[in-house]
Symmetry: C2
Subunit: 227 residues, 2 copies
DNA sequence: CGTTCCGGTTGATCTGGATCAAGGCTCGAT
DNA sequence: ATCGAGCCTTGATCCAGATCAACCGGAACG
């Protein structure tokens, strides 16, 4: 697998020139994880910044009751583990592989050294972190201010790339439910409701088609709360 | 008011040397806001990075139903508005002054220019952003994984500086409740419960004394859910 | 000084989504 | 092919916390 190519397809390192991409690629180590394998644990010293090449990684936290909350479902081109490296503190969450997964790892020491020596890279990463904060704020907003249907609708709209209407679910529904702070039962019921209202179709278990983006947007914005 | 002094007391610019502090101070503009005054709105172009000198700022989002969620209560020495500047996108939230408030403003353009020219500063800010992400993740974790009592206990423990036991409430209880995603009624009831269980005392309306940090920690970690 | 208004407390009731329970389906392992 | 072991769905019930409502006390203001 071509490290440079993976790095250039990665949002976190957007708009990096070829030379810098090459430099980062030279630091990278390939890692593969089996289905279900734990990649790191909450409290671990940060190993480095991971970039998913293939597969899917679940980043999650555990509550005292054993409940888990999926913070992030990282598919190809997405990063995880970066925050602890940059802040130099223990990992604030767990990560495991949802299925067989390959990653690039930019080890903590090497990454930090590179950031220290490369001002331009540092600026890029700063911008990416700001986007990550915005994403988290959006997540929080969704969970706090929307009801179950609103969360699901909003998430569905987020998944479709501009203009398309078909969503390939990135993982099992139970993990998507957890990400939205719902139980899988409630997600199932909510999708059924959307189906019955004609807003979506589910031709297969892993695929959802949005039939009416306008009405969906209304549900997401909370205008459609009770029928 | 001394801009350099305020900057040096600000967590976001921790460990900056005198020269850099001075440089930032020279960019800063003083701003004062009356009680209730809106500082910026969701969707606004970012004005810059604000540092609270005196007073208190509420950073919050509005839901479709009109419900507001307080993301951040920024007191003296804390920053807000930084994320939109660094990411160069519209403000993701509203901010208003909870009472008469004075701030330093580092305007977007000047701040970005300084970051571009000062690699060391850039590294500092990167670390601060990572801490901010960790804080947000903690907030999300609290809201998703803890029940009402757990959230309140956790927040109270967060407010006491190491070793002390008295908390001066930074704002009205309704805003604290919103920050914890509770109604003020529920916060009131939860505090009463803690009071009756002998975990806290409320000598006045704005002051809370933690009587038993150990038991409080148990509540925060969810070990005390039903008596 | 009243008086108005807003924040906080407390009580009564309601409800969205969790939890508990029971099949059916898929898919990997044998 | 057969056999689990998860996963998903659907139904029935429950509950933490929201909502509704009433009251109190103090700060702002004429």
């Amino acid at each position: 697998m071509n490290a440079e190519r993976i790095i250039s397809g990665c949002g976190f390192f957007l708009r990096l020139d070829a030379q810098r991409r090459e430099r980062l690629a030279s630091l990278a180590e390939a890692r593969t994880f089996a289905r279900g394998q734990v990649i790191f644990r909450q409290g671990d010293d940060p190993a480095g910044l991971f970039i998913v090449a293939t597969g899917l990684v679940r980043v999650y936290q555990l509550g005292p009751s054993g409940k888990e909350h999926v913070l992030h479902l990282a598919g190809p081109g997405m990063t995880f583990g970066e925050v602890a490296v940059l802040g130099d503190f223990p990992a604030p969450a767990f990560a495991d592989a949802n299925r067989k997964t390959t990653c690039l790892l930019l080890p903590s020491g090497a990454l930090r050294a590179t950031l220290r020596s490369d001002h331009e890279l540092c600026l890029q990463v700063l911008g990416s972190m700001a986007f990550w904060v915005r994403h988290l704020v959006g997540l929080l907003e969704g969970i706090v201010l929307r009801d179950a249907a609103g969360r699901v609708a909003h998430w569905l709209l987020d998944q479709v790339s501009e203009g398309r209407t078909t969503i390939e679910l990135p993982s099992q529904k139970k993990d998507i439910a957890s990400h939205l702070n719902l139980t899988s039962e409630t997600l199932s019921r909510t999708l059924r409701q959307l189906r019955e209202d004609g807003l979506i179709e589910e031709p297969t278990g892993q695929r959802i088609v949005i039939k009416s983006p306008e009405r969906m947007r209304e549900v997401a914005e909370g205008f459609f709360p009770r029928v």
